[in-house]
Point group: C2
Chain length 200, copies 2
């Protein structure tokens, strides 16, 4: 409801939380890792070093929210890419895979954060769980499986291929891989198309 013009800062200080998540995403993009300190984040957001604790229990929770935003973005990207390919399941799967890898390459650190390990000893962050679940649902829907909660074999194979390719690429683990965007995109397309064409 706040207008863009006029007094930009809302009442107290502004809606931190949103600002903190945005700033965290910025730093994540700049430094390509999430080893930045909470104090640095607060500094860049223009608040005191303890202010974030009014919105997040600790650093893990803040990062989990950032990851959740990432999963929503991934889901949107996949849904947008899927539009218009409802008729042809093979093409749909290929396009979805290319989108998945492109998403990872576009922001490697965010992708790594999203797929960081789910630790058993820490309490789960609900927003992250639901966002991740919905993203995977978009992926599962493209597979041959029915509407159940399980992932069918073919879909899982495709997902694994695409996820592994994305991971290996962003971690620069493939020896002869091209370093430019165009070459990488061609490589991804080649591998995905070849695998999709041959139904497992």
């Amino acid at each position: 409801m706040s207008s863009e013009t006029g007094r930009t800062r809302p009442y107290h200080h502004g809606d931190l939380r949103r600002a903190l998540i945005d700033t965290a995403l910025q730093i994540l993009q700049e430094e390509q890792n999430w080893e930045f300190t909470l104090r640095e984040l607060a500094r860049r957001a223009g608040v005191s070093h303890a202010a974030p604790y009014k919105h997040f229990a600790d650093k893990r929770e803040l990062l989990a929210e950032v990851a959740a935003v990432g999963f929503r973005a991934l889901r949107q990207a996949m849904e947008a890419a899927a539009a218009g390919h409802e008729g042809e399941p093979e093409e749909l799967l290929a396009v979805l895979g290319e989108t998945y890898v492109a998403f990872a390459l576009e922001s490697p650190a965010r992708f790594r954060l999203m797929f960081g390990p789910v630790r058993d000893d820490e309490p789960p962050v609900p927003a992250l769980q639901s966002a991740a679940g919905e993203a995977f649902e978009a992926l599962r829907a493209a597979g041959a499986g029915s509407g159940g909660g399980e992932v069918d074999t073919r879909t899982l194979a495709a997902w694994s291929l695409v996820h592994g390719l994305a991971t290996l690429l962003i971690d620069r683990r493939i020896p002869g891989a091209p370093s430019d965007t165009a070459g990488t995109r061609a490589l991804v397309a080649r591998i995905i198309r070849a695998s999709v064409r041959a139904p497992a």
Copy 2:
């Protein structure tokens, strides 16, 4: 050459470095992450908190050496599994893939550490680079490609599939996945066999 009985501690204090790497691997296995402090590591090794700096420039270098040991272990495991399947390329690839995933499941944190991002701004650790390269060479040799330094398409597809499956499994990202070892093993075998049978 040191006997197990008698004076166990060698001259000065022992061969730290080896001890530190071993202890780090232990903690890594116990806590399933590498957020442990260098001071905690020194404590468990029975030395002062600054002693590690006589053997490693910083914490990253120590972790890189741990990762290098992991790559050597992965290479050994794959070579052992490959023995006896020289004649049949399809079976060889499948067995190699199963070994790869089993290695990841056996020690998830070590696997994650090994495949952590290669940062451009940090100086590379030679031992890690060579160990990783040799492990990938063992994998590439199983593919249809020749002896060049590049990875052929089919091999890369297989590697991606297996790497992605391993990653998704250890990060508990697959919704309906079995939690027990036997079930997981069966799932892995099913996916790999199906994909290998259908040449891309």
